[in-house]
Assembly symmetry: C2
Homo-oligomer: 313 residues x 2
Amino acid sequence: MRLGLDIGGTKTDAVVLDARGGVRASVRVPTGIGPAAVLDSAERSVRAVIEQAGTGLVAAETIGVGIPGMVDPDSGRVRHAVNLGVEELSLGAELSFRVGVPVRVENDVKAASLGTYHLLGLTGSAALLNLGTGMAAGIVVDGELQRGSGGGAGEIGHIPVDPKGAVCSCGQRGCLETLASGSGIARMWPSKAALPAVELFDAADAGDERALAVRDTLAAGVASAVRVLVLTVDVQTVVIGGGVSNLGGRLLSPVLDVLRDWEHDSAFLRSLDVADRVRMLPAGLPAAAVGAALIGTTGAPEPGGVGLPVPQD
Amino acid sequence: MRLGLDIGGTKTDAVVLDARGGVRASVRVPTGIGPAAVLDSAERSVRAVIEQAGTGLVAAETIGVGIPGMVDPDSGRVRHAVNLGVEELSLGAELSFRVGVPVRVENDVKAASLGTYHLLGLTGSAALLNLGTGMAAGIVVDGELQRGSGGGAGEIGHIPVDPKGAVCSCGQRGCLETLASGSGIARMWPSKAALPAVELFDAADAGDERALAVRDTLAAGVASAVRVLVLTVDVQTVVIGGGVSNLGGRLLSPVLDVLRDWEHDSAFLRSLDVADRVRMLPAGLPAAAVGAALIGTTGAPEPGGVGLPVPQD
């Protein structure tokens, strides 16, 4: 039995997976802001999901946590989780101490990529292209999360693709993130609507010229990110996730149009079937929590052993 | 004992590696043009290097071949090796038949990346950024060549980074290859010199404004390719190889200048130490032939045979 947490800016999701990886229980609690409150809500979600699963917090369990920010999986430390009001937190050690179970920590997008791979039953290589406030990807090859040499794998949001593009929060210009992300939409389509992306797509559907142009730019940015993933890692599948992906088919359709236009102009791209590799993450799947649960188990106990997980190397 | 071939547009290199991976013998013969002539020169290089190594072509040996073009490693077939006058060739089967030893075939840049990793004693993850007529990279993680789902991993030369850039041979616009490759130099600095890149750098050193601009563009293109590799795969080391890399420090220096300028403007890039990951492939190393020899051992005969190399895992 494996337990996974996804600590987001507003809510913390917790899931319990059974031995076959099926979701046996899941809960959602509001995330507290600041290190102590984040730990409180994390602990609360653990106790709630355990109760829902009808089981106890026995030593044999492992907990994995996905959280935004810079994560050192070896130490379980998190830095710069800005939306959570966390500058630095020994999340792994602190939560382990509170619940008495070893806790492993991973960046939330990386966790979500592993969860996506599992929940969608993918094989071979795949990337989750996460369009949240920013843009990042998680890459999984043969079921294994690819972190790269220092955890930087998948940071494609900061690849510049236009020397004359907008200045990015990272200090560069024309990054993919400035085109295809929540912050990119906010820049290109300033709005007070609760769901600016929906307002944008509604306006585009209604024929608003400016909205159409922004939608095209967004779709081309997503398509460019897909192209980077295919031409660099040659992932078989690219799943588009993150908040912006709640647009579903409304986003997928213009992205595929862009990719097919490019394939029309380039036999090289056509030979790679780029468009055919893309799909949307169905809304509402607890991908990051499930992925976190799976991360908690890698380097798991010897078969037949009593219990405690061995740290990943 | 492992034998590796690098079939290039003008010469075919062959090496014999001893059991520890040291280069025991190496020869170079002119490459024939057209399928039959390519096979003839390949066979000639095999017989010559075996003679130099002072050993026989016993059944226990394996041969790996690196060759430009589209390679299917499973069948040993090569397609579109344009410079060799080869539209299609069952290189693996044909050469196996001629020399009586199993032959494995791989794309030359991919083979060279594995050879570079081995010859430079690299560990962790690394990419060979090959600047030949075109641009492509080979990616090696923990000693294992990364092919991607269909052999497309490392095709970063066709990632566009400027919507207003030059049209690329692939049909797209502003690809990295249009900026940083032999063909890119030929476009930006048309020349009848034997070594156009050297002429370009000499002119830049002499203060020619146009040459300085082209050199800057080239350096920025190489730096952009490095950035793509670091931000997508997070390789620890990027080795710059291929014909253009014969410029050595003359190329490395402006590339590092560009990367350091970018790091100056972006704390994010600075945190990744991008510039510190870059080095040049020393000229004259038979990286592709050595890599091919190493590839020749993967998927080799069952262990337990007499002197048979055990497949790498």
